[in-house]
Amino acid sequence: MNMIEINSVSMRFNMAKEKHESLKEYFVALAKGKLQFEEFYALRDVTFNVEKGDFYGLVGLNGSGKSTLLKIIAGVFKPTLGTVNVRGTIAPLIELGAGFDMDLTARENIYLNGTVLGFTPKYIDSKFDEIVDFSELWDFLDVPLKNYSSGMVSRIAFAIATITKPDVLIADEILSVGDFLFQQKCEQRMRELMADGTTVILVNHSIEQIERLCNKVTWLEKGRVQMTGDTQTVCEAYKLTTR
């Protein structure tokens, strides 16, 4: 069964040379006939499917459109052309701690971020201990988040996002934060979720990690799909060109 269907998706951004942030500037530019946007395609005609139970990897150099694609899957962007269908619930780990308010304490943020992801307060109550256990931050629970280190913030964000059993987990380079012990813990947690039937899409610059975890990989190059297939083949080809 296909969990995610991506059908010839293109994403166009208007790269305004000068950003018109006020009406005056806008009309001045309009009058001068300079109201031209440079079009930029972050993604062009991308098509692939992710099946249930896949641990899907996306590789590519910086600016190849990996993060844009993840954001489209998560529903943050609407694709300019093409369609994306996702079955079931998504847990987006696009940038850890997106829903955090740095002035609130960790305890308050767990509830805020949990509701951002669509959980009920009751559900968060029941999972609260588990979240704090996982992030190992019992001692700092009532400290405002602005006093946390970035590693601590990402721990707690990962713990909240993976506390439920999502149908699809989208992970953008999250495994590169935190110390190696925490990375191991995250991998462990993702494997547990996989065992329960979660489909994972992973973006990572560390090709070793992709090779170790994923069973299928798509290689993006300047917004186009260069290659799709099993991990071995794609990673070999990718490493050959980047070397």
Binding site: E21, F77, G99, D103, V116, L117, G118
Partner: protein, 265 residues
């Protein structure tokens, strides 16, 4: 109809987020202040005291005798403040939620809605101050007082509609933020907050002010709470009509623009 149903479903799913965002705003507003929540009551009380001193001594031009001027003034001031705060915070709500909506999918109208709800919470707190002043000035408690919920509720809907339009516009043109401040200042002087337009002997003003929806909300509220008169028919339909028109406009406009927001903030 499908659109309204989708809005309602979304709302139900994300209602806890709405509560939490309101809670966050409330906590952050009073964090580290000694008196904390007391300011919610004290602030409108002091503000109205200042207004009262100014407009009953230096600029005494209220036109005729207004019964219980402190309460009259305070009702106008509190309702106008609600509208002002609601629309202003809703206007910048999309910009301040930028980090969030760039990374997670959330129905976007939740942010202007949250700001308007938060302003309503503040407004309800300030009614405690109003009650204190009413007790202090010996104002009568009329049986019509419960009817004041009607102008309050319709004003809430009206502010939400305006807030949605402003929030969507501000994403594309930041100028709106500066313009709106000027506009609301002008609006304040034409909302009959500290004078009675009917007693001003100015035919133009008495006609002109009827085009200001806020005047109707404020007057309807005064009728029920201060004068002890039931709402008139024209109050009922004008309050409702303004609210429905504003909300419909707001929802349609916001919905048509919302997919583009992410690219502009």
């Amino acid at each position: 109809m499908g659109m309204i149903k989708a809005y309602c479903n979304d709302f139900w799913r994300y209602r806890y987020l709405l509560y939490n965002l309101i809670g966050r705003d409330f906590k952050l507003k009073y964090r580290r202040s000694v008196l904390g929540v007391v300011w919610s009551v004290l602030n409108p009380l002091l503000m109205c005291l200042v207004m009262w001193v100014v407009f009953s001594t230096v600029f005494d031009m209220r036109g005729g005798d207004i019964v219980n001027f402190p309460v009259y003034l305070m009702i106008g001031q509190l309702l106008f403040n609600f509208f002002n705060e609601a629309t202003n915070t809703a206007m910048s709500s999309m910009l301040s939620a930028a980090t969030l909506i760039k990374k997670v999918y959330i129905p976007k109208y939740i942010f202007p809605l949250e700001k308007v709800c938060f302003s309503l919470v503040n407004c309800l707190f300030s009614f405690i101050a109003l009650i204190i002043v009413m007790l202090f000035t010996g104002a009568e408690l009329h049986t019509t007082v419960l009817q004041c919920l009607y102008p309050l509720l319709t004003l809430f809907v009206f502010s939400l509609g305006i807030g949605l339009v402003l929030a969507a516009l501000t994403v594309f043109f930041r100028d709106i933020m500066h313009l709106w401040g000027v506009f609301t200042t002008a609006l304040m002087y034409f909302s009959a907050i500290f004078y009675d337009p009917l007693a001003m002997n100015n035919a133009f003003l008495t006609q002109f002010i009827k085009f200001n929806p806020l005047y109707w909300y404020i007057t309807a509220f005064r009728y029920t709470v201060l004068f002890g008169k039931p709402l008139t028919f024209s109050m009922i339909w004008i309050c409702a009509a303004c609210a429905i028109v504003a909300l419909t406009l707001g929802l349609i406009f916001f919905r048509r623009q919302q997919d583009k927001f992410v690219l502009y903030i």
